[in-house]
Structures are given as structure tokens and as C-alpha cells.
């Protein structure tokens, strides 16, 4: 790190700002999330207030609201409001764990899957009905019901029941209703596919990379999990195309859990996703929940190694984009939407406060209710800290006002968090109190020791280095990654 000498800091020139060295420049960010990348000399002059009005540097600073004498308070307010629009509505994501049964065994499984004969871990229709009653009491005008497991296709009857019942309920509720399913696809068949496509259920799956890596980490007895998944990805994408849907918009989404085996295989992973017609990949690091806790000696890695992997993968993705291949990285897209777009894409794990309870709710197969899926995973590991109710007895307002939900809202507010309160990335970032609780013993955590903070900071450092590099093509690609095209086909009609 090169120190910038500030001889006489000014207390009257600049609006409040935070700063960080990124690449060879100094990044400054404001309370409302404006940013500039300055040379060390420019930063020194800014900090000393030695920037005469009318100079190019003054203009750049004033345009971004960094100059106290020229501050546009209305613009500042509007920008702050744009970043927090999610505050005024309740949970939009409702995760229904319809079964814990799963036919695959994944080395990092955080869902605490059960064997295929554990039918007692199937959600019943009665519990599904009570869950739907609660879902539609959310104050959010949009509701996404996400089917998870185990493997949700194992309990397909209840999946269908939920879809029918939710649609019926929505005739009166009139919400923007969508369904998604996270599935390993190995139990898919033509009949299930026809139902899911006809009923506009968005499908998401896991692809860990090329076949031998995927199959090593995701065991499907007697078969190749990779072959099954890729077969059905192509089949589903063909079905969308046959309906006349734009394949650049309508296709199966896939995501990745990065294990130690994945780290040197960044190019193979990206190439696999491109070959499957995926337009996005989410380079998620392994998390400390479920099986990953026990298999950590085998799958875990220092986050510095993950960040090397991330940089290599995204550099390669950018090169592919320059060759006309449309594929983005999801973490980057989330942060860039906030950085370049000034908006919040409402990714529940990266916002302040986080979405625990107030943005998402997880309903287990047995009707128990949790602040989030991570909280549910801890429950399956024997830690019931994030259990907030039961569908048999819970009232919606009591769930939202639950002391655990309140505590998590405060614990994930970056204005209350040491380190985050002064961090340059505060306008764009978020913490996970459940992750803090698991890894550090308290929902507040200590960010300097947090592996999640290291990932968030590392990714943002990388993105700002790229932005500061000034490559026009890269900046255009980044702008494209912030553009969200609505997938209106998946919206459920309220009509009878």
C-alpha cells in the first residue's frame, strides 16, 4: 500500500466520504453510494480542499456530490431512497422445503438431506395450505414461492398442490406471483417437465463444472448426476424455445458451489456453463452449513485462494463477452447494479439490513418457520436460534415482529457494525448474521475475521480495479450486466 500524504486535511470542503486504495488509485464513496476513483495526487488535493472551482477535478467531484459547497441535497435524498426501496415491503421470497429426501449426496450439502425412505420428512398438504395462508399475508406486492429440499421433485404432489392453491389464493390477493424450483433434475421426466413448463415454474439447478468434477462432488448412485442434469437443462431450454420464448431470457439457471477441487478449474467451469447455454453463473464460495461443516477439511480453502479463482474466472468471462458470448457472473452483477446503477437489486444476503424475516421466510417440511434458509439449515444441525414459529400457530405480524427478526435487522444494519460503519463499500454491501453466529458465535460478528466479508471486499476491489482501469469494452459489459430484463412469462396470471 502506498501512503498518500495529506498535509492539512480540510473539514469544510468535502461531504462525508470513505476512502480505500484500489489498484493504483484511491476510491472514494459517499453516504448515498456515489463513487470516484482518484489519483493519489487528486485525492490529496480533495482531502486538503485544494480544488479550485471550475477545474475539471472540481467538476467531477461536484457532479458526484462530494463538494459541500455544491451539494444537491435532493439528489442525495433520492439516491438514498433508491437504495432502500426494499424497506417498505415485507418478505417477497418464501422458501418451501417440501421434503428433506434427496437422491443425490453432495459433499457440501447444506440442506441436511435425508435418505429416500425418510418419508416423514415430506411436507403434507395440510402444512402446505397453512404455509400458503401465511405467504399471502406478506405486505410485499410481489411473492416468489421457491421450492427447495432435499430434492423437491421427490414430493411433486405437494409441489403441484402448492401451485394450485397459491394461484387460487392469489385471485383475491392480486400479487405478482412467481414460482421457482431448485432441483438437481435427476428425477425429472416428461410428465413433470410438461407440468412445470405449462405452469411457468422457473427452474434452477446446480452445475459444479465439467462432468468428472460434478460427479465427484454430487453422487447419484449408479448414474452420472452431471449427465442427468445437463440432459434436462437442454430439454427444458428446448421446451422454452418451442414455445417461442427468447432463449437469451428464458433458460434454466444454474449455480455453482466452489470447493477446493474447483479452484484450479475456473476455465473448465466457465466453459461448461457456456456450453449449456447458461447466461449467468454464480461463483458461490462454500458455506459453513450442513454437511460442509463436517467435510470442511476436504472442501474448504482460504478465501484468498477463492478470490484468485474468482478473478481468473471473471477475467475469462469478460474475454468471452468481448468475443460476443453473453454470460455474466452473478456476484458481480449484484454489486455492479448497486455501484453503477444506483439501485438495489434486493439480493437478500447483500443488503442493509439483510432479508432475514423481513425479506425472506423459510418454511420447513414440518411447518416450522425460520428467518431464512440458513437459519433452517442450522436448525437441522441442532441450533434452533433462528426458529420463529410454526405454521399451525403463527400469526404473520407476530412473525415479522419476532424478537429474533428484530435482532437480525439491527445486527445486519451496516450503520451499526464496526468496520462496516467506516468501510468504503458500505453503500453496496451486506452481512449475514446467521453466518456470523455460526462462524463467530454472535449474530454481530467481527468483520475483520469474517470469511464472507473477505469475499465481499475482494470482489468489490476487483470490480473497482476494472472500473478504474478505464477499458471501454469492460465498462460496457459491466453496464450490460446491470440491465435486468423482466421475465414476464413467469408471472402468474391473477385471472380465474
Amino acid at each position: 500500500m502506498n501512503l498518500v500524504q495529506i498535509r492539512r486535511p480540510s473539514t469544510s470542503f468535502a461531504m462525508p466520504f470513505r476512502h480505500r486504495q484500489v489498484g493504483g488509485k484511491v476510491l472514494i464513496t459517499s453516504t448515498e453510494g456515489n463513487f470516484l476513483l482518484l489519483t493519489p495526487d487528486e485525492f490529496a488535493r480533495f482531502a486538503e480542499g485544494d480544488v479550485p472551482d471550475g477545474t475539471p477535478l472540481y467538476t467531477r467531484l461536484a457532479e458526484r456530490n462530494f463538494v459541500r459547497a455544491a451539494v444537491d441535497a435532493r439528489a442525495m435524498t433520492e439516491r438514498l431512497r433508491a437504495r432502500r426501496t426494499f424497506l417498505h415491503a415485507g418478505p417477497n421470497l418464501h422458501i418451501l422445503v417440501v421434503t428433506l429426501r434427496c437422491n443425490e449426496t453432495c459433499v457440501y450439502c447444506h440442506a441436511s438431506r435425508a435418505d429416500m425412505n425418510a418419508t416423514h420428512t415430506d411436507m403434507t398438504k395440510e402444512i402446505a395450505d397453512k404455509t400458503i395462508d401465511l405467504v399471502f399475508q406478506s405486505t410485499s406486492p410481489s411473492v416468489t414461492i421457491e421450492f427447495q429440499g432435499g430434492e423437491p421433485l421427490v414430493n411433486f404432489e405437494v409441489v403441484k398442490h402448492v401451485i394450485e392453491a397459491a394461484r387460487a389464493k392469489n385471485r383475491a390477493a392480486g400479487k405478482r406471483l412467481e414460482f421457482t424450483m431448485v432441483s438437481n433434475l435427476s428425477l425429472m421426466d416428461e410428465e413433470k417437465l410438461a407440468y412445470l413448463v405449462e405452469n411457468k415454474v422457473q427452474i434452477c439447478t446446480s452445475i459444479d463444472g465439467p462432468e468428472h468434477l460434478h460427479d465427484k462432488q454430487r453422487k447419484l448412485p449408479g448414474l452420472s448426476a452431471h449427465q442427468k442434469a445437463t440432459h434436462w437443462i437442454r430439454r427444458i431450454n428446448d421446451a422454452y424455445a418451442a414455445m417461442g420464448l427468447d432463449p437469451t431470457l428464458y433458460h434454466v439457471e444454474a449455480l455453482l458451489t466452489t470447493t477446493r477441487e474447483t479452484l484450479p478449474r475456473w476455465k473448465d467451469v466457465v466453459d461448461t456453463y457456456v456450453s449449456l447455454g447458461c447466461r449467468a453463473l454464480f461463483l458461490r464460495p462454500v458455506d459453513p452449513f450442513g454437511f460442509a461443516d463436517r467435510t470442511a477439511p476436504r472442501v474448504e480453502y482460504p478465501r484468498a485462494e477463492y478470490l484468485d479463482f474468482y478473478r481468473s474466472a471473471v477475467d475469462y468471462i469478460l474475454e468471452l463477452n468481448k468475443q460476443g458470448v453473453e454470460i455474466l457472473e452473478r456476484f458481480a452483477a449484484i454489486f455492479l447494479t448497486k455501484i453503477l446503477g444506483g439501485e438495489d437489486p434486493n439480493f437478500l444476503d447483500i443488503r442493509s439490513p439483510c432479508g432475514a424475516g423481513i425479506g425472506q421466510v423459510a418454511y420447513n417440511y414440518d411447518g416450522k418457520i425460520f428467518t431464512c434458509d440458513e437459519g433452517r439449515m442450522l436448525h437441522e444441525m441442532g441450533d434452533h436460534t433462528f426458529l420463529i414459529g410454526d405454521v399451525q400457530t403463527a400469526k404473520y405480524r407476530e412473525l415479522m415482529g419476532h424478537e429474533t427478526v428484530r435482532a437480525l435487522a439491527i445486527a445486519s444494519n451496516l450503520d451499526a457494525q464496526p468496520d462496516c460503519v467506516n468501510c468504503t463499500y458500505q453503500p453496496y454491501c451486506g452481512v449475514c448474521p446467521v453466518h456470523n453466529h455460526k462462524t463467530q458465535g454472535s449474530i454481530f460478528g467481527r468483520m475483520r475475521e469474517s470469511s464472507l466479508c473477505a469475499v465481499h471486499k475482494g470482489i468489490q476491489d476487483f470490480l473497482f480495479e476494472k472500473i478504474g482501469g478505464g477499458d471501454k469494452e469492460t465498462l460496457e459489459i459491466f453496464q450490460r450486466w446491470t440491465t435486468v430484463r423482466d421475465r414476464t412469462h413467469f408471472l402468474q396470471s391473477c385471472a380465474t
Partner: protein
Amino acid sequence: MRVDAATYPLDALYGAAYVFIDRCYVLLDKPDASWRVTLAWKKGEPTADQLRALVGEFANELLSCAWRAKIAEQNRAVIESVTAQALGGAMGPPSLDDLEKFDFSEESFEDPLGIALSWEEKHKKKARADDPHAAPPGDAEKP
């Protein structure tokens, strides 16, 4: 370990200690103007490195708690505002059933500036003793 009680307020000490009671035995003491924290391994014989790591982690948690207390004090308004909006937005307005359960009967409404007084109450003249229609004397007139 001994820590300065002026630098680390008692709530910070409690906050840090509470985080560790599932992992080790935590004994707090106050021999003088400092706090003394004794951490003891629950089971087995720890190595010197393990003990050093435990104490180091406790010191980090203590610092974190102390600083968080200061931040909460300084940023109280924005923290409360965001939390209230987040929870209010999620909870939504109360239903009639919720209002029915709400206890309105307890503390009297404090109104030191007389804002809740009607104009008549505020400006009524003193009642004539022989006026059968005069309202009974009420609270003392407020400015």
C-alpha cells in the same frame, strides 16, 4: 487477561463474555480499576497455541463490543429509523383484531403544551355560578 475498565465499559465486557460461554469457562473479576477475565478450557488439555488464540479472539470480541456500543450511540437515529421502517414495512398496519387486543387504557396521554385540548376547553370562560348551562370547571387553563 486484564483490561482497562475505562476503555472497555461493563456492557462491552458482558457482551464479549457472553459470546464465549459456550466454548469455555469465563470468570470475570475486578481486582482494581481494571477487569480481569479468566478463560478456562472446558475439556481436555489445550495447547499453548489454542489458549493464545482463545485469548486473542476474546480480546477482538471485546474491542468489537466496545466499539459497537459507541457506534450505536452515535448512529442511534439512523439505526432506529431504518429498523422501524424495515419492521413497519414488513408487519404492515394492524388489523382490527390486533387493535382489539391493544391496551389503550394504561398511561394517561401526556400533553404538556395542551395540544390535545379543544378550543373550547382552552378558552372557556369561568362558569357563572347561577348559569345552569355552564360546563363544570375542568382542568386548569393551559397557555
